[in-house]
């Protein structure tokens, strides 16, 4: 996982619970907390931190990951505003993730282990996004979609009937935009 994800998690925790809380989480997870955005770190380290965040906030992992996804979108948008600027609406933004955004990420990082998306655009504000990643971070993807919807001032509902956590080979995110 890229260091930028760790950086954003740190910012979220400090912003909501303060530096002491973040230091405690690092100590509990056995991490030194030194993350450079472009470097790659073990996925297990992030999962250990998220586990400690859940304990500190007394919230289930699904909720924390979802909230983190929304926050992550805002932070990534602040760092790379061109992607949103170049997509006129939420639907076109979501459809640009796999080719345009991930294409740019590939220019910057070697082997970033990006998830893959394929799309079915049903044309009536309904979009199916099929998510594939060995990390199975579909809930983070959901949070990112909600973060994007806020950015575009759009309402979304996401149905997640097919899920890798229940044995499927991909997650099917049915996104309704209004």
């Amino acid at each position: 996982m890229k260091g930028v994800i760790f950086n954003v998690l740190e910012e979220l925790v400090i912003e909501t619970s303060g530096m002491v809380a973040w230091n405690n989480i690092l100590a509990a997870a056995g991490s030194d907390g030194i993350y450079t955005s472009g470097a790659s770190y073990d996925d297990a380290e992030l999962f250990a931190l998220v586990e400690q965040v859940c304990k500190a906030l007394e919230l289930p992992a699904e909720t924390v990951v979802g909230i983190f996804g929304e926050y992550l979108f805002d932070q990534l948008d602040a760092r790379h505003p061109d992607f949103v600027a170049n997509a006129p609406d939420l639907r076109s933004f979501l459809m640009s993730v796999d080719t345009v955004i991930h294409g740019e990420v590939l220019k910057l990082y070697t082997n970033p282990n990006l998830p893959r998306f394929d799309y079915q655009n049903h044309g009536d504000g309904h979009l199916t996004m099929n998510y594939r990643s060995p990390r199975k971070l579909c809930l983070l993807a959901e949070g990112l979609i909600r973060g994007a919807a806020k950015r575009y001032d759009a309402q979304v509902s996401i149905e997640h009937k097919v899920c890798m956590h229940h044995g499927a080979d991909h997650c099917q995110l049915d996104v309704s935009i209004s």
């Binding site: 910012e11 955005s37 760092r79 220019k107 910057l108």
Partner: protein
């Protein structure tokens, strides 16, 4: 102004975080720039490789041209006296044949013992067979010499260095007259479509350009021989600086190997004895000497498309 009540370490932390983000942004920008430069360099490298391959090909052709000129010259001298001697031998044989006929006529008036002796001698020397076989041998030798002459001529054409006679010419007229010339090669059933735009006169050696067009059309006719609904489309067009002649067929097309060697002297896909393999090499050389180029695209089993470009020179 910062709030004095705020923890100075927190202020310092936030400042450092900003610095880190700025440094990371700088790194990203530079990485992106580097990526772009890398792409450009890869593209340039690819172009250079293509140019190098093309230059090597040109060099190979130039070397072959020099070699061809030398070989043509060396073969031409003995060829001249062999041809001349064979012609003389043909005449000598005629005299010998007349003599043989005369001896045969005399035989009728000879005494039987002399006839037997003569017959014995004729049989021993196999003169009847020799008299019958010699004309055939002569003909085959002359045919062989004609082929050698054609090959030598092709080599000289390929290697020729002088510009030849150039004049302002109507290429459309050249195409039409070439088509009339190759009518016998184009089998019935091949659809020939002409779409000729008005062209400016082009300074060129018209017989050489016609030779190029003829070569391509004959090849197209051969390639479409056994194809369903065969066609050859010939068109001409122009822009500000060039005229173009396009010849497209739905023939058998060319393999990658054929495409790579198309303009190489002596490369042929025809059976031995049916082609010298010099046609397209000479065509390429002619167009190159005129400052143009000959582009070809082909798909095996689909057809081939030749585009001949000739510049409209400023001294028109």
């Amino acid at each position: 102004m910062s709030d004095n009540r705020q923890d100075p370490f927190e202020i310092a932390y936030l400042r450092e975080r900003k610095i880190r983000r700025a440094a990371e942004q700088l790194l990203e920008d530079k990485t992106r720039m580097l990526h772009q430069r890398n792409l450009e360099l890869s593209k340039t490298n690819e172009q250079l490789m293509q140019q190098q391959t093309s230059m090597l090909k040109q060099e190979k052709l130039a070397t072959l041209g020099t070699l061809a000129a030398g070989v043509a010259h060396e073969i031409n001298n003995p060829l001249a006296f062999v041809t001349s001697n064979i012609s003389a031998l043909e005449a000598y044989h005629h005299a010998y044949h007349e003599l043989f006929k005369y001896v045969k006529a005399l035989r009728e008036k000879m005494s039987s013992d002399k006839v037997d002796a003569l017959d014995e001698e004729i049989k021993k020397l196999d003169l009847d067979y020799l008299d019958e076989d010699l004309p055939m041998l002569m003909n085959e030798t002359l045919e062989g010499l004609e082929r050698v002459k054609k090959i030598v001529l092709s080599l000289r054409n390929f290697a020729r260095s002088q510009e030849g006679e150039r004049a302002l010419s109507d290429l459309n007229e050249g195409i039409r007259s070439t088509l009339r010339l190759v009518q016998s090669e184009i089998k019935q059933g091949i659809e020939v479509k002409l779409k000729l735009e008005d062209l400016p006169l082009v300074r060129c050696n018209p017989s050489e350009i016609n030779q190029v067009v003829l070569n391509i059309i004959v090849n197209a006719a051969h390639a479409t021989r056994d194809r369903p609904k065969p066609y050859i489309y010939i068109s001409s067009s122009t822009d500000e600086n060039n005229v173009y002649i396009s010849i497209e067929d739905n023939g058998s097309g060319m393999s990658q190997h054929t495409m790579e060697n198309l303009f190489m002297p002596f490369f042929t896909t025809k059976p031995i004895g049916e082609g010298t393999g010099m046609g397209m090499a000479i065509a390429h050389k002619i167009i190159e000497d005129h400052g143009g180029d000959l582009q070809v695209s082909s798909n095996e089993g689909v057809g081939s498309h030749f585009t001949l470009r000739l510049p409209i020179t400023s001294d028109q």
